[in-house]
Structure formats: C-alpha cells, structure tokens
C-alpha cells in the first residue's frame, strides 16, 4: 500500500515528466509467430508440392505442441526436465486405454490422456520441485526411466514392447457437426486447432503473474523466496501444466500412429524434445520451440531420405548451434533483424 498511497512520489519535476512506465502489452503476438501459423495452416497444400507428404504436417504440429509445453519448463522456468518423454507416453497410453476400455469418444479419450499425464506429472513434481539444477535433471531422468520400464514390462496393460495397436481416430463431435479425422488432412486440422489453443494458452501463461514469477525464479530463486513466494508451489504448478500438455501431445501422437508404444518414453526420445527446444532457441524466445520442432521433424525426413545416419548429422548441427549460437534459430533471426534495421 505504501507507494500507492503516496500522493506525490519524490522528485520535484511533478507529473509532467511522468513517462508512462508500463511495459508493452504482452498480448500482442510477435510477427514471426503469426507468419509461422500461416505457414502451418497452409502446410497440407505446400508439403506435397515440395515432395513431402501430408502426414508429416500432423507430426510437425504435434511436436510443436509438445515442445511449446516443454519449454515452459526448460526455457521459461529454467527447470531441466530430461525425462519428459514419460508424460508424452503416459498420454498416449491413457488415450489408447480409455478408447479400448472406457469409451470411444474423442474428447473423453483426449481428456484421459491429458489428465493421467498431469497426475503422473503431479506425482513426479512432488518429488523434484524442491530441487534445482543437476539434481532436478537427474531425478527427472530417473522417473522417466521408471515410466519407460513399466511401459515395457507391464504387459497386461501396456502390451509390452508391441504397445497398444489398432487405435482409432474417433470423429470430432462438435454437437452440431461430426467431422471425420480418419484422413491425415482431417487429423491435421484438429491438431492445428489444439496447437493454436496451446500456443495461445502458453503465451498468456508466460505473461501472467505465475509465468513472470517463474521467470524470476529461474534468474534468482533465493530472491523470489525472500519476497515471500512459495517457490516449491510455483515449480510444482508449471511442471503439472507442462506434463498435461505433453500428455495431450502424446494422445494426438497415438492417433497419428494409431498405436501407443514404449519407444516414445525412452531416454533418447526425451532427449529429442530438448534438442528441438534448444536448436529452435527456446532459451531466448517464446516461439523458438515451434521452429525447433519443425526443423527437427523436417531434418529427420529430409536428411533421413539420404542417409540412415541422419541423426549423426543432426547431432553435429546441434553441437554447432550450442557452441556458436546458443540462442538457436530464434537468435539467428534476431541478429538478422538487428543487422537489417540497426538501432531498433
């Protein structure tokens, strides 16, 4: 109350020089993001033109969604969760199990994927949220490995190494209309709509009080604590949110692949989302993960068409980025803009 009640802040210059000190409205989306979304919406039309196939657009959009949610932890909050594939996998399995054993309804099954992943996330978050740095990373890896192991061994539920097969893509029931997503083009539109919702939600989140506080906790956890913030609770909350988004991505992936299998929970799959986020520039930019996910999936297919060892080449690119351009593709874009319009 002190400052607000202070009618005349010190300084003799008075109200005349009171420059509006407010930050720019955060709700204005950056232009590259808008361009990216337009590029995406048009993907099913331009992808075949460059020799790729519509299914690829589905996968790009799913991994964009996944990476965006993941970056709430890694880039935004500085929390190195290195076993995130577990929650992607839990989402996929929950979607498949709900479809097979409960009801074949798109919304119910997707909700199951999100909720079960968030519950698993809450369980892990309860153990890791009082940690930071290397301990946080190691604990999340350990939990990720546990989940992967359970998925392989719990045959009666998960189907073991084979996973859950012949999953279906239930129609999108909007009440007034029923749309089929059996085709990849149809599924793509659904994924795109959900991606838009997730990106918008993340955008709001990072500019909300909790989002801003998490960014502050990343920079100086002790300070946040001495300002009265319950740091544990903040870290817990963002972990659950991020794992819920991973669960949604996993559920969508189960539809895309029409199966759920343990491979997506493995350590190297968990590493892929880290690579997507870092190469895209998630540490420096909100939209970096979107670029990084697209870059990763396209590199996989384009490089993969030429060589079995595409991951080696991708890994070298990744190392080059980390060494010389730690802010990733987003950082390169930023530098280009700075060169093009100096002084801005």
């Amino acid at each position: 109350m002190s400052a607000a009640a202070d009618p005349a802040p010190s300084g003799a210059l008075g109200a005349g020089d009171a420059v509006p000190a407010r930050a720019a409205p955060a709700t204005r989306l950056p232009r590259p993001l808008v361009a990216l979304v337009l590029l995406l919406v048009a993907a099913p039309w331009w992808l075949p033109a460059v020799g790729l196939y519509p299914y690829l657009a589905v996968e790009v959009a799913i991994f964009m969604l996944y990476a965006q949610g993941y970056n709430l932890l890694l880039g935004h909050s500085g929390l190195p969760s290195f076993g995130h594939g577990a929650f992607f996998g839990v989402g996929a399995y929950a979607f498949g199990l709900a479809q097979k054993h409960v009801v074949e309804n798109l919304w119910v099954d997707l909700a199951a994927g999100v909720l079960v992943a968030a519950l698993a996330g809450a369980l892990v978050a309860a153990f890791v949220s009082h940690r930071r740095g290397i301990y946080y990373a190691l604990l999340t890896i350990a939990f990720g490995q546990v989940a992967w192991f359970v998925a392989i061994k719990w045959h009666s539920v998960t189907g073991g190494e084979d996973g859950l097969l012949n999953l279906r893509r239930p129609d999108v029931d909007l009440g007034f209309a029923r749309l089929s997503i059996a085709s990849n083009e149809g599924l793509f539109l659904l994924v795109l709509a959900l991606l838009a919702a997730v990106v918008l939600g993340c955008w709001r989140f990072v500019h909300s009080p909790l989002g801003r506080v998490l960014a502050c906790i990343r920079q100086n956890e002790t300070r946040a604590r001495f300002l009265g913030y319950r740091v544990w609770w903040c870290k817990f909350a963002v972990f659950v949110l991020s794992t819920a988004i991973a669960g949604l991505a996993g559920a969508l992936f189960a539809m895309a692949q029409q199966s759920a299998y343990p491979n997506v929970m493995s350590l190297h799959q968990s590493g892929f989302v880290v690579m997507m986020v870092l190469i895209g520039g998630g540490l420096a930019s909100f939209w970096g993960p979107l670029v990084g996910a697209a870059f990763f999936i396209l590199a996989r297919d384009l490089l993969g068409a030429y060589t079995e060892t595409w991951l080696l080449w991708y890994g070298l690119v990744f190392m080059a980025v980390v060494l010389w351009q730690p802010e990733g593709l987003a950082g390169i874009w930023r530098q280009l803009r700075a060169t093009a319009a100096p002084g801005r």
């Binding site: 400052a3 300084g11 909300s208 989002g211």
Partner: protein
C-alpha cells in the same frame, strides 16, 4: 514489547560457532545499526532473523509471535523484507518488472494464470511510484543488469520496500558505493526512517551514526556494546575502528 526480538541466538555450522549468544530487540519505528568487523556474525545474524538459516538455539520473535526456523517466504509474508550484501535482483527483467513481482498484491494473485501482468495498471503504477521514490525514475524499462551499480543498490531497496514491510533489513547498503552514491542513499534512508522500522548492517560509520537511533557492536558472535551513536563514540572498540576505517 519490541516489534522484533532475537533471544539468545546461537548458531554453529559443524564445529564452527558463528553466533555465540545474541540478544537484540528492535523497537517499532526505530532505526538500528549493527556494526563490527568482518566475520563477526552480522550477516549470519540477518540470515537467522530472516529465515535463511534456523538458529541452533534461541528464539526469534516478530511482534511476540515465535517465528524461529520458519521458511524465508513465510517470514517475508509476515512483513519482513531484506536487501542483500551481494546485490540480488532478477537480472534480465526490467527495473519495473523487478518491483512489480515484489508487490504483495501480485504475490497474492500468483495463481491467477489468466491475468496479463503488463496490463495490470494498478500494479504497474505502484511499481513506477516506488522506483521514483528510490530515485530510479526514467530507468523503469532498463534491465536490472544494465543499471549502474548505484542504481542496482537502489533497486534492491525498492524490492524490499515493495512489500511495505514492518521490518526492513538492509545488509551493507553502501557497500561498493562512492561518496555521491552514499550521500544519495543516506538521504533516501533518512526519508525511509520516518516510516519504517529499519535494521542495517553497515561499515560506513559516518553513514550509520548519522542515521541510526541505536547501534549494536557485534564481535565474536556476541553483542559487545550497545547504545545511541553519541554514547558509543566513546566506546574503545568503536574509537579504534573509526581510526582504521575513517
């Protein structure tokens, strides 16, 4: 009853005793200075009082309530704010955003994930007014890491003030400041003194003796002398250190 009390605090790290036996009382509305040589236990004392460490023995009382060993965030919520000897800010945030986050009204609504902090006019205005009070008008949009050293010191104080604290702990506020910066800070503290209960650790004796109502000298983890600045000028330890530090 004093607003804030430390009763027979003892703190050891392993075999090393840092606070032997400290009893202090801070009356509401007063400004208290803590002085003493490096390693005397002043900062550890602050850390115990503000919840960074629990004491090995002894009690900490805020307004009669036992707050011994409570977490820093809990003690902060009860109205205890502090600055740090080594400047502790959110470096890549703007000065304005640093203060906004420090406001209790934002802390109270931290779970409100649908509010846009940049559009929270009341909070933004309150933060801007606080920055004005500590002399940072015009620097609102500058990132904390791009501020000058003196400005960063001022921002530290703005963060502590944002909570409208009942007790304000300042750990060596003049540390690293030149003569100009120290003079400006003295004016600021003189103004704050009228509204807040302040406890500060300080090596600059001219600064401390001008501003403090009561000064405690801490040495070997104990209070070796206490009194008003006038009374203390005759104290042999104070006289000696004045010769040394100027």
């Amino acid at each position: 009853m004093a607003l804030f009390e430390a009763v027979r605090l003892h703190k050891r790290f392993g075999q090393r005793v840092v606070l032997e036996d400290i009893t202090l009382a801070f009356e509401a509305g007063t400004t208290t200075g803590l002085m003493g040589p490096n390693g005397a236990g002043k900062t550890t004392c602050f850390n115990v009082l503000t919840g960074h460490f629990a004491p090995t023995r002894g009690r900490v009382l805020l307004d009669g309530r036992d707050v011994t060993g409570l977490a820093p965030q809990t003690i902060a919520r009860l109205g205890v704010a502090r600055s740090f000897q080594t400047i502790s800010l959110f470096d890549t945030e703007t000065a304005q955003d640093n203060v906004v986050v420090a406001l209790p009204r934002i802390r109270a609504r931290v779970a409100d994930a649908w509010r846009d902090l940049a559009r929270d006019t009341a909070a933004q205005d309150e933060a801007a007014a606080l920055l004005g009070r500590v002399g940072l008008r015009g620097r609102e949009r500058t990132r904390a890491r791009d501020l000058s050293y003196g400005e960063r010191r001022a921002l530290e104080i703005a963060l502590a003030l944002a909570g409208d604290p009942r007790v304000l702990f300042l750990d060596e506020p003049t540390s690293g400041l030149g003569a100009d910066g120290t003079a400006r800070l003295a004016d600021l503290v003189a103004e704050l003194k009228r509204r807040y209960t302040i406890v500060m650790i300080e090596h600059d004796m001219r600064f401390l003796f001008r501003l403090a109502d009561v000064v405690h000298v801490i040495h070997w983890g104990q209070v070796i002398a206490s009194g008003t600045p006038d009374a203390l000028r005759g104290d042999p330890w104070v006289a000696r250190s004045q010769l040394g530090a100027g």
